[in-house]
């Protein structure tokens, strides 16, 4: 066990945990932030996507020792409201397990587009969300939701 200090959704946290404990488990079990879901646990499905210092990652593949001093953003974090609204309005969710990951990934994608001066279009959306699997196979509405979020200027 060792102490790990990092920021989650703007709040400073100190967690005592095995250094190789998955960030996913720290978020869900130690910090009671259960918005982040576990899908495959192997980095294939994207359900557990969170941002570390603004970059999307699979939290099942990140040991807590690697977020020391970092800023972690989960689906509960600030700045995701407009994307959540877009998914609500477009019906971009069915059973809901993949939804938090899709929302975080959409936010990360829109941030990247803005940073790199790229126009978010459908091809880009499909590419950005390729690592987020939906087993209800509702991809049509998921892409529509991401594009609706983009159309609103992707504002935070």
């Amino acid at each position: 066990m060792s102490e790990h200090e990092f920021e989650v959704n703007g709040v400073r946290r100190t967690v005592s945990a095995d250094p190789l404990r998955r960030l996913l488990d720290v978020l869900r079990e130690d910090l009671a932030l259960t918005g982040t879901k576990e899908g495959c646990g192997e980095g294939e499905c994207g359900a557990c996507t969170v941002m570390i210092d603004g970059e999307a990652v699979n939290s099942c593949l990140v040991p807590v020792c690697q977020v020391q001093g970092a800023r972690v953003t989960t689906v509960e974090g600030a700045g995701l409201e407009s994307v959540q609204e877009a998914f609500l309005e477009e019906g971009g969710a069915q059973c809901g397990i993949c939804t938090p990951g899709l929302i975080v990934m959409t936010r990360a994608w829109l941030d990247t587009c803005e940073r790199e001066g790229r126009v978010p279009d459908e091809a880009e959306a499909r590419r950005a969300l390729a690592g987020n699997l939906c087993r209800c196979t509702g991809y049509g509405k998921v892409i529509a939701s991401a594009l609706a979020a983009a159309a609103e200027g992707g504002e935070r």
Binding site: P19, L20, E42, G43, A56, C65, G131, N132
Partner: protein, 276 residues
């Protein structure tokens, strides 16, 4: 479970022992730990060793820190200019979430036969810089990748950087064949570079993944050197390529062998098309 997270290269090297497991971006090892295929004991986490990061010009070539992520390879203008197929391969490694974490050094150190970057490194004649408390040494990528998940790294060494030679006039190509475009482990992955001079092949270097227990340099193609690259010469060279693919959950040996040869014929044909 036990792990230490040094923040300097000296401290990381000092922490290495005979049975250390070196952890970089975790995209492979975190799954290995969970399934028990690799014991999560004596882990040295190098993620915060900043000396292992960074992309820099070295002469007309490149020096890429071992912790360079696939995402960094994709967006770096210098990499795109001097090692375009490395950026291309890095873009196809997996989803955005994986590219943000998976590292160049991790690809080499894990030495999976399905690794997408390793055939590119062999095709580019890249060298692997290994560091230890004793100093540095360099190995060709092909010599570094010794076998199935086996490398020439000694337990007291870390991969420090990858050195890419100047591109000269080499043309290059990369092709990954997987079940889907994003987030698929390769059924077959191929990278090649060709240099022509006066209509004659001056050099060929090609390598493939997922067709043998290790990333394999396709030496059979090197018989093209000194020849005019006619369709017949290319076909003969491709026939001479020797690989040992297997049947597994992702594909069959027969499919892999057929696709490899067809990809090679097309790829070499294009790379050897009339001088511009």
């Amino acid at each position: 479970m036990s792990a230490v997270s040094p923040t300097s290269l000296d401290a990381a090297l000092a922490a290495l022992t005979a049975d250390t497991v070196v952890l970089a971006g975790g995209t492979d090892l975190m799954v290995e730990f969970r399934t028990g295929r690799t014991r999560a004991e004596n882990v040295v986490d190098i993620w915060r060793v900043d000396e292992l990061r960074g992309i820099a010009a070295e002469g007309d070539g490149l020096r890429l820190g071992a912790l360079t992520t696939c995402a960094e390879l994709v967006r770096d203008p210098l990499v795109r200019e001097r090692a375009a197929i490395l950026a291309e391969a890095a873009d196809e490694v997996g989803a955005e979430q994986i590219k943000n974490r998976a590292t160049l050094g991790g690809n080499l150190g894990t030495a999976s036969p399905a690794a997408d970057l390793n055939p590119v490194l062999v095709a580019l004649d890249a060298r692997v810089e290994l560091v230890s408390t004793q100093g540095k040494r360099e190995l060709e990528a092909d010599a570094f990748l010794r076998g199935y998940r086996e490398t020439a790294r000694r337990p007291d060494e870390l991969i420090g950087a990858v050195l890419i030679p100047p591109p000269r006039k080499r043309r290059s190509a990369f092709r990954k064949v997987g079940t889907r475009r994003a987030q698929a482990i390769s059924k077959v992955v191929v990278a090649a570079t060709v240099e022509l001079e006066g209509g004659v092949v001056r050099s060929v270097r090609a390598a493939a993944g997922s067709v043998a227990p290790r990333t394999v340099r396709l030496r059979g193609l090197e018989a093209l050197v000194g020849q005019q690259p006619s369709a017949d010469a290319i076909a003969a060279a491709v026939r001479a390529v020797d690989v040992t693919p297997i049947d597994d959950v992702r594909s069959t040996a027969a499919y892999r062998e057929l696709v490899l040869r067809r990809v090679l014929v097309t790829m070499l044909g294009r790379l050897c098309a009339a001088d511009e």
